[in-house]
């Protein structure tokens, strides 16, 4: 290959990625603009809340409990060396609220709900169900994409809040019930150090951003799948990989913006 071929190759892939980004952006805008309407949209939204939210609840609650417990156990072992094991409460609560709650929930969500979304929509596309909707004069963005998008955006923050609350409870189990920290000081020090705006509002903001990104990637990968079994499995993998990376990178950015100064 000559030099010009290489340069043309770079140009081709640049054009392709810009085109991809553009069509993904259009799809996102289409989904945002089509807020589910009361009569027809809400039943669809409820069904998706069930599939995306309710069915992810068990994995989120169990993971939250264990992560809170592990965090408390490891934290206790370190803090006890400084004689400051009373600070276990804020350590667990702040780690969960600021980072682990939104991030781990988003990663689990990408694996549990995101991959399922991609596979479902990919299958709909490859069996021509999406085409068939279009031919019935029904907008697939409104019927299929928008309810799933909104269900994801609503579910993930709720799941992250549940994860965090259960995680703090797990920390309480290990710290107070097992390691014998005084329950009063555990809660009072925890309450003194957690701030409503700084910690809880930022936790919700983070998980909202992750919700938009993960759901968007999952839907886009499904909607643009190459309609064959290999394409669907590739798209599912891509959803998990890309949304995990996006969550971690965005987490760094958001943390720098929220807690950096």
């Amino acid at each position: 290959m000559s030099l010009t071929d290489h340069i043309a190759g770079i140009g081709r892939s640049a054009i392709a990625s810009v085109t991809g980004l553009g069509s993904a952006g259009l799809m996102l805008w289409g989904a945002i603009a089509r807020v589910p309407k009361p009569r027809k949209g809400i039943p669809l939204l409820i069904k998706q809340l069930y599939v995306i939210g309710v069915q992810s609840m068990v994995i989120i609650l169990v993971s939250g409990l264990f992560i809170g417990m592990v965090l408390a156990l490891q934290g206790y072992n370190i803090l006890v060396g400084f004689g400051t094991e009373d600070s276990l409460g804020p350590m667990v609560a702040l780690s969960l609220l600021r980072e682990l709650g939104p991030v781990v929930t988003a990663l689990l969500f990408a694996g549990r709900a995101g991959s399922a979304l991609t596979a479902e929509i990919g299958l709909m596309k490859s069996t021509e169900q999406l085409s068939s909707l279009e031919m019935m004069a029904i907008d697939p963005l409104r019927q299929i994409i928008a309810p799933r998008f909104w269900a994801g955006v609503i579910s993930l923050p709720l799941l992250a809040l549940m994860f965090t609350a259960v995680g703090i409870y797990g920390g309480h189990i290990v710290g107070v019930e097992w390691k014998g920290i005084d329950s009063g000081s555990f809660w009072s020090i925890l309450q003194a150090s957690v701030e409503w705006r700084q910690d809880i509002v930022n936790c919700v903001i983070k998980s909202l951003v992750f919700a938009v990104v993960v759901t968007w990637i999952a839907l886009y990968r499904g909607y643009n799948v190459i309609p064959n079994p290999e394409g669907i499995s590739r798209a599912t993998t891509q959803t998990v990989v890309q949304s995990s990376l996006a969550v971690l990178a965005l987490d760094f950015l958001l943390t720098a913006m929220m807690f950096g100064s």
């Binding site: 039943p43 409820i46 069904k47 809340l49 069930y50 939210g53 309710v54 609840m57 400084f82 400051t84 609560a93 609220l97 609503i154 579910s155 923050p157 709720l158 799941l159 809040l161 549940m162 965090t164 609350a165 259960v166 703090i168 809660w187 925890l190 309450q191 003194a192 150090s193 957690v194 701030e195 409503w196 910690d199 809880i200 936790c203 919700v204």
Partner: protein
């Protein structure tokens, strides 16, 4: 098309999410819902505030009676000015009270300790917007160690 079971579970899901939110807000962040007029403001000047932060507590004998709401630098005197929101139910502090920056434990958080002064006929109570004159700045560990080393050295000589 939707079964009752799905609707019920989605309802439970949303309610548990909101419950988790409320638990975090009220149990973990300990937000106190109080009407806006329940505080009065005091000011104090310090040459060094050490590690004092906005929202650090003001305590009298260990009881929290207020919080730091703002920390700024006086542009002419070049000393730190701390604004305190004091709880309305504790209004009985005489003007002779003193304020010191203390540390909980050896390495813990810093807070303001208010020591109520004596009460005499011609001395009023602290009012909205008053300055507390008698303040003790934070003890800086490095300064303390420096002083200690200096005194040890001078004894040796």
């Amino acid at each position: 098309m939707l079964t009752r079971k799905i609707e019920l579970l989605v309802g439970v899901f949303i309610l548990s999410g909101l419950m988790a939110f409320l638990v975090l807000v009220f149990n973990v962040a300990n937000i106190e819902v109080k009407p806006g007029q329940s505080h009065y403001t005091l000011y104090a000047k310090f040459t060094n505030i050490g590690g004092l932060k906005v929202r650090s507590p003001v305590k009298v004998g260990g009881v929290v009676v207020g919080r730091v709401t703002q920390i700024s630098l006086d542009p002419t005197e070049l000393v730190a000015v701390v604004e305190l929101a004091m709880d309305k139910q504790y209004e009985q502090f005489p003007e002779t009270s003193s304020l010191s920056i203390l540390t909980s434990g050896l390495l813990g958080e810093q807070f303001l300790g208010l020591t109520p002064g004596f009460v005499m006929d011609d001395i009023g109570m602290l009012q909205e917007g008053d300055y507390i004159d008698d303040t003790h700045s934070a003890l800086v560990l490095e300064d303390l160690i420096g002083q200690f080393l200096y005194s040890v050295k001078s004894k040796d000589n």
